[in-house]
């Protein structure tokens, strides 16, 4: 007996949607709400947190002591942000985040994770050969700098506070935030140098 051919992923998704709707288990409005919910979760939020931390030492202290509360001060909270921990880079210590077993991230401040973060390649390799992976991704770290890889294996959700680039004295929070990409918040890139 020949196996039945697999339905396309579009057809399969539609099948689950239609079945749940027809049974009245969810409404189209529920699904619409949830499909748009991720629009509020974005790396610009985390970048704003970092910029505030770079410019406000009191906020930075609060962020390091209780990142969940500090992010909430700026309005960033919600699912997968119940317990956020901020990791501060230093000239001697670089931090990078992964979730090897699924693909957890702090949604409210990082957004839903990008494809590379969810790839088997990143998940398998970055814990074992972080320097090689970072180099391939464009971040060549000196052997003098230690690398800490943070594995998101339980309910803590991490964000990295990258080093503030030189030459940004007197920059506004907005201008500073523009230097912080999603990749910098995960730790596979540095904050950008000012143009």
């Amino acid at each position: 007996m020949k196996k039945q051919e697999m339905a396309s992923i579009e057809q399969r998704t539609q099948a689950v949607r239609d079945a749940l709707l027809e049974q009245g288990l969810v409404t189209a409005s529920d699904l619409d709400t949830f499909a748009h919910m991720p629009e509020d979760w974005k790396p610009e939020n985390g970048a704003a947190v970092v910029a505030r931390a770079w410019t406000d030492p009191d906020f930075c202290r609060r962020l390091l002591a209780d990142a969940t509360a500090a992010c909430a001060e700026l309005g960033y909270k919600g699912p997968q942000g119940e317990y956020i921990v901020a990791l501060e880079d230093t000239p001697a210590q670089h931090n990078v985040i992964v979730c090897t077993q699924c693909s957890c991230t702090a949604w409210p401040v990082l957004g839903l994770p990008p494809d590379w973060y969810k790839s088997p390649e990143y998940r398998a390799r970055v814990v074992r050969e972080p320097r090689r992976v970072l180099k391939e991704m464009g971040l060549n770290l000196s052997p003098d700098i230690g690398v800490r890889v943070w594995e998101t294996s339980a309910e803590t959700r991490y964000m990295v506070i990258p080093l503030r680039p030189a030459g940004t004295e007197g920059f506004s929070e907005e201008a500073l935030a523009a230097l912080v990409s999603r990749e910098a918040l995960i730790g596979v890139a540095m904050a950008s140098e000012p143009a």
Binding site: Q4, L25, Q101, E151, S153, A154, T156
Partner: protein, 211 residues
């Protein structure tokens, strides 16, 4: 389970390809899959997040590795909706107009026999060893750190113990710890002595190490 999802340290994978200006969703079905995952947990209340994670782990390994992330999201969600009796596999396949691969069943004896640790046993600076358990069900201690010794950096709040929650047992909460392992203890002879991996581990995954 010693499943395909537990990828940390596995070799043979290639370069990581990055996309600039990547959108949140590349295709409309991905947003729908995300919404269905979310709605199944918070509206239908079909299952909890630990059951959900485990349902993805139970996918056929070849399917798991070749599937897009949101295809895994949809497959795990659909599998639980069928297992919990909300939907039928035949109906899904008929609607989809083709085969609709679901996750494999839960293993017969999914849990290791771990004592609940309602009070925290460890403090910052303590040396701890990860138990060498390999239960057939859900477990969140990655295989690469089992049996290894590390140092507690931080005690996090109590969170639901996933092994029990993923298999419908009585909900219990335990502290987790950020435990730092020297990379060279995890993979002897490789990497830099300056590097480490920090794993977030529930109390009952750990045992004390006498110095």
């Amino acid at each position: 389970m010693d499943g395909i999802h537990d990828l940390g340290g596995m070799q043979g994978f290639g370069e990581i390809s990055m996309e600039s200006e990547e959108p949140t969703f590349h295709e409309p079905w991905q947003a729908t899959a995300f919404a269905l995952m979310f709605a199944s947990q918070v509206v239908v209340r079909s299952h909890n997040v630990d059951e959900y994670r485990h349902s993805i782990e139970r996918m056929n390994p070849a399917h798991y590795l070749q599937a897009d992330y949101y295809e895994r999201v949809l497959t795990g969600t659909a599998s639980l909706l069928v297992e919990k009796g909300h939907l039928s596999a035949e109906d899904l396949s008929a609607r989809a107009g083709g085969a609709f691969p679901l996750s494999r069943p839960v293993a017969p004896s999914p849990m290791a026999d771990l004592s609940p640790q309602l009070e925290p046993r460890f403090s910052v600076g303590d040396r701890v060893r990860v138990l060498t358990i390999s239960p057939a069900g859900h477990v969140r201690a990655p295989k690469f750190c089992r049996g290894c010794v590390g140092t507690v950096l931080h005690r996090a709040p109590k969170f639901g113990f996933p092994d029990v929650a993923a298999h419908g047992g009585t909900r219990r909460k335990e502290h987790t710890y950020h435990v730092e392992f020297a990379s060279q203890d995890l993979w002897p002879g490789e990497g830099s002595s300056k590097d480490s991996v920090v794993v977030d581990l529930w109390d009952s995954y750990l045992e004390a190490v006498n110095r």
